[in-house]
C-alpha cells in the first residue's frame, strides 16, 4: 500500500495531546497504524507533550506508600507480535476493527442516495464527533459539501478523486471548513471509506439539504 495523503501536523499534535475528538481520533489512529511516515511524525508530537509534562512543577505525592507492583508483570507477553504494518490491502485497521469488527462485508449498509450507502458507527460512551462508513458504487459522487469543523476521511477500499487529488486505500483526507469538495469514486472499484467529522457536513443544493435531516448527514 503506497500512501500519498497524510495527516496534517496540527492534527497529529492534537492526537498526541489526546485532545482530538474521539471520532477523528479513530480515523487518525487507523491511518497511523498503516503509515510509517505519520508514526515518525507522531513521535515528534509526543515528545513535545513529554517535554511539557517534564517542565511542570512536580506535584507532591501524598499517598502513604508507593504502589506495589505484583506478579502480573508477565501478563503482557515479552515478545509482542511482529510489526503491525504493512497490513494486507483491504483489511480493517485495528483501531477501527475494535468498533466494527473485521469484515466490511458484514456491514449493514443503509442507502443514502443512488449508489451511495452509509453505516453510522457508535463511539464509546462520551466520545465526541460523528463517525460513519461510506460506500460508493463505481463512478458515484457524494454531493458537493463543505464542513463545519474538521473532517477526516480514510479510504479502506477502492479509491476516489476530487479537486485535491486521488485517494487510495490508506490515504487520509484531512480537511477543515475552508474546503468544499465533491468526491467521485473509482470507475471500476468504487470506494469504501470511513469518515469522521466534528459536526455533520453541510451540503450545497436543495436536494441534499432536504435529505440531510432524514439521513443525519
Amino acid at each position: 500500500m503506497t500512501i500519498s495523503h497524510h495527516l496534517d501536523d496540527a492534527t497529529l499534535m492534537s492526537f498526541a495531546a489526546g485532545t482530538l475528538p474521539a471520532a477523528l481520533a479513530v480515523v487518525a489512529a487507523s491511518h497511523i497504524a498503516a503509515c510509517p511516515l505519520c508514526r515518525t511524525a507522531l513521535v515528534h508530537a509526543e515528545r513535545i507533550g513529554a517535554a511539557l509534562m517534564d517542565d511542570l512543577p512536580p506535584a507532591t505525592i501524598t499517598g502513604a506508600s508507593p504502589p506495589m507492583p505484583d506478579g502480573s508483570r508477565r501478563a503482557v507477553p515479552p515478545h509482542a507480535p511482529a510489526a503491525g504494518p504493512p497490513q494486507p490491502a483491504n483489511s480493517v485497521p485495528p483501531p477501527l476493527a475494535r468498533l466494527i469488527g473485521n469484515g466490511l462485508d458484514a456491514i449493514r449498509w443503509r442507502p443514502l442516495a443512488i449508489g451511495v450507502w452509509h453505516h453510522r458507527i457508535a463511539l464509546d460512551r462520551g466520545g465526541a464527533g460523528d463517525l460513519r462508513l461510506l460506500k460508493l458504487a463505481p463512478g458515484r459522487g457524494v454531493p458537493e459539501h463543505g464542513h463545519n469543523g474538521m473532517e477526516l476521511t480514510l479510504v479502506l477500499r477502492g479509491s476516489y478523486h476530487d479537486a485535491i487529488g486521488t485517494f487510495c486505500a490508506g490515504d487520509v483526507a484531512d480537511l477543515d471548513d475552508a474546503v468544499e469538495h465533491q468526491p467521485i469514486s473509482d470507475a471500476a472499484q468504487g470506494c469504501v471509506c470511513v469518515v469522521a467529522s466534528e459536526k455533520p457536513a453541510r451540503f450545497r443544493g436543495w436536494l441534499p439539504r432536504i435529505l440531510a435531516p432524514f439521513h443525519g448527514l
Binding site: A16, I48, P66, A80, G84
Partner: protein
Amino acid sequence: MADLLRRIAEQADASAFRELYQVYGPRVKAYMMRKGTDAATAEDLAQETLLAVWRKASLYAGDRGSLTTWIFTIARNLRIDLLRRQAPWQELPEWRLQEPSEEALPDEAVAEKQRQSRVRTLLAELPADQREVVGLSYLEGLSHSEIATRLCMPVGTVKSRMRLAYQKIRKGVEDLE
C-alpha cells in the same frame, strides 16, 4: 532511567520500580492535575501509569522515543480512558512496543535524551502566540475548536500556529536524528 527500566524488565526489581515512581509519579500527577483532575484521582492515575510501565517494561523499545515520552503517552491514554472509558489508540502498542528492550542501543538512548532537552529549549523559545496554543492543547486538554473559542479566533489560526510550532521543533532536532 533506562537502567531502572532494564532492572524492572529483566529482574522484576521492585526497588527500581520505587525509584522510577519517585521520579515520574510527581510529574504525572502534576500533568493530570493541570488537566483538571482532582488531586486524589491524579495520584491514582499516576500510580496506574507507573504500574503499566512495570507490566510492559519488557516490551519497551528504547529506539521509539524516550522513556519520558512513553510514560507521557501512557498517562495521556489513561486520562482519556477516564473521560470516555476507552481510547481508540489504546491498542496501538503493536508498533510501538514491538521489540524487546535489550536491543535498545545505548547511543540511541543518549541521542533521545539530547532531543528531549532540545525540545524543551525550543518550546521555551517559541513565540508567545504559538506557545499559548500548544499549552492549551497539551496541558489544558482543549481541542482546536475549543482553543479557537477560548481565544476568539478562527480554528484555521489555531491550526496554523500549532503547525508552525511543530515544524520549528521538528526542524530543530533534525541534526540529532
